[in-house]
């Protein structure tokens, strides 16, 4: 038998295996999977280049000792272990949770109130909707700088109003100079800026609830509170969850308000993770550790993101 003749069965076997793989792929991915892959390839490449690669590189850098201008040195999980026992990091984690949940909780209440007021029959509803959206539309830096002036002990308008105009206090309050008031102030500004997003989202959800449901509930003798609890809340449940989760992620990562108002002070009382990350990255110029700080809370945020994604998909299906 010639060599060529001997190769024929092997080639046939290979062809057979290739066909089987193709059939398998067709079965799993659909008959036109090649065309599908062609369409998906550009976006896949973009995601790899713009999301996966930077993220992977960040994870790698967080496991290195990386100083500005010098090549990274692999240290494994050292940065994470060190952070776990670092008192300043621990305080930043606690502050981040206080800041986030304090803000989101109040934004939820205010946003709901805003939506309820704007769904009722009030005059100039469009005007009020526009006015209430101003904090959300204004650039955060501008708002924060304005609040820096508003909160100033000697020259700020808030103390001026409280002490001189309304005479509610014998002397001003150091809004940004005491740990309690400083945290309350940064939370307050975050609430001021963020509640219109809650309000406008809830408003959209409420408008989609059929009026007949309210009429039926009223016929059954439901009070306003009962109508809110049994009609409104179930009607906007998905929106409510999505908005709360989104706001939790945004607030947790909010940098500008805290940095401009307090820079994490006084004495670290308002030090939150994004500001801590910034301090380590640009103050200490230890980039590996800074990225480790940023990624440390990723599992917690990832859980929030997974829940959020699930709700969004459910919302789309329904």
């Amino acid at each position: 038998m010639s060599i060529q003749a001997a190769q024929l069965p092997a080639k046939a076997a290979l062809d057979g295996r290739g066909r089987a793989v193709a059939v398998g792929l067709r079965r799993v991915l659909g008959p036109d999977y090649r065309m599908g892959m062609l369409f998906v390839a550009p976006i896949l490449l973009l995601v790899l280049a713009l999301v996966a690669y930077p993220f992977g590189y960040a994870v790698y850098l967080s496991m290195t000792r990386k100083y500005v201008g010098l090549p990274p040195v692999w240290v494994g999980f050292d940065n994470y272990v060190k952070l776990t026992w670092d008192g300043f990091f621990q305080r930043a984690v606690v502050n981040s949770f206080i800041f986030t949940f304090g803000s989101v909780g109040v934004k939820l209440v205010l946003g709901m109130a805003m939506a309820l007021v704007l769904t009722s029959q009030i005059r100039w509803r469009g005007f009020w909707t526009g006015v209430l959206l101003i904090p959300w539309v204004a650039p955060t830096v501008v708002s924060a700088l304005n609040f820096l002036w508003i909160f100033d002990y000697s020259l700020g308008v808030l103390n001026y109003l409280l002490v001189r105009v309304f005479r509610l206090l014998p002397q001003g309050i150091g809004w940004l100079s005491e740990p309690g008031t400083a945290m309350a102030s940064v939370i307050g500004v975050n609430i001021w800026r963020g509640f219109p997003f809650f309000g406008i989202s809830f408003l959209a959800g409420m408008k989609a609830i059929p009026g007949e449901l309210y009429e039926a509930a009223a016929v059954d003798g439901a009070t306003a509170l009962q109508r809110f609890r049994h009609v409104t809340v179930p009607g906007i449940k998905n929106i409510l969850i999505i908005v709360v989760l989104l706001s939790t992620i945004w607030t947790f990562n909010d940098f500008q308000i805290v940095y401009i108002l307090t820079k994490g002070g006084p004495g670290g009382a308002t030090q939150v993770l994004p500001v801590f990350t910034y301090e380590i990255a640009f103050g200490a110029q230890r980039l590996g550790e800074a990225i480790a700080v940023a990624l440390y809370m990723l599992p917690a945020l990832a859980a929030v993101i997974i829940v959020l994604a699930r709700y969004m998909r459910r919302g789309r299906r329904s």
């Binding site: 002990y153 020259l155 150091g174 005491e178 994490g264 002070g265 004495g267 640009f282």
Partner: protein, 452 residues
Amino acid sequence: MDNRLRDLSEQLAAGLIARREFLRKAAVVTGGTAAGLGVLRTMAGAQAKPKLRVWLFKSFVTAGNDVLAKHIETWGQERKVDVELDWATFGDREQKFVAAIEAGNPPDVAEMNLYGPMRYKPALRDVSKVATEIAKAKGGLLPFAEKATKVDGKFLGVPRYAMITVFYIRKDIMEAKGLKPPKLYDPDVVEFAKKTQDAAKDLWGFGQTLNRSDDGDGFMQNILWSYGGGPWDKDGKPALATSNREANLKALQFAVDTIKKHKIQPPGVMGWTDVSNNEAYMAGKLVTTNNGASLYYAMVAKKHELAAKTLLTLTPGGPAGSLVGGSCYNWGIFSKSKHAELGEDLIRWLEDETRFTEYMNASVGQAGPVYKGRADHPYWKSDPNFEAILQNILRSVMPGHPGPMTPAAVEVQAQKTLTDMAGRVVTAGLSPEAALKEAHGRVEEIYKIRRG
């Protein structure tokens, strides 16, 4: 199509030349044209202006910024160089440098602060030749400037000017009370402040934040030194809660007492940023404060009524003397620059005495001397308030004092470790001992990391 090629194709079509001849001649014409274009491109390239990217520090003294920009533009026109100017402020310069260095795209030349040579050492070019040449022509460098710009025996920055903190006093109030400028913080400043302040009118004797800020950190650094302490010993090892513990405790206690016990500071002082004391002073709410010359510049430039009522004096001291943290703005050339010679030429141009004098005059005391020759300039006698600026500069010390200026010393300052320490006592209720111990732990950690 080229006319020669068209002729050739017509000759070929008419059968006047063979195809082989057509191909040969066409190749010569095309090749010649391509070569000619290449030569033209090279010539054009040779005539194109080189481009120099220059980053400047945008200080609060805007007139000085304008003069500097004008000098650089004139240099660009004279040398036929395209200059791309960009500015970095107090708030964003570190981010800009870090981002540019990590992206491999730093500027050619940059105006850096005193930390620059130490922090960006891996990305900077050795500028010893030009730095030595300029220093020699100006009578030599003042010691603090050499310490700030010379790293491991090489100059990584060419010194330009020193910006320093001085003590601001409301002269009118002082004279009305028959007082003299305080020499020591304790008890002079405390007594001075108590005698001059009027809390009911929101007028406070002393305004000095201990919050995270350059001003706050500078004050804490100075007060520790002036009490004989500081974060470092003379070998550059951490000493906050070890060999310098007693002196540091006294200094920290004094700083905290200005707020908690003596109540000579405005109630909101722990929330202040770097500009807050400037604003409060100009609003007439402070009798004394520590600040750089930018506050004096602002008052003079705006013809503010307090400009004439302000006395600038040496920073008050403590039991170990009066020590002041210095600064040294300097020019760096990045090693990635393809125009290092142009960069050096620009630095020589800007440090020319006529040009620097114009810049100094516009800066109202902010552009202090870093060269011995400039310290003798008559400008420093032109305003009585400049004497304090000059003398504070001449006696200034660098981070790490009394030891060497190290990367760890720079990082301790950059991380606001000392203001955090004071803040923990004032706002979190920690005892000075506990805050000192906590801060020492941070200094130790930074020392270990930076030494490794």
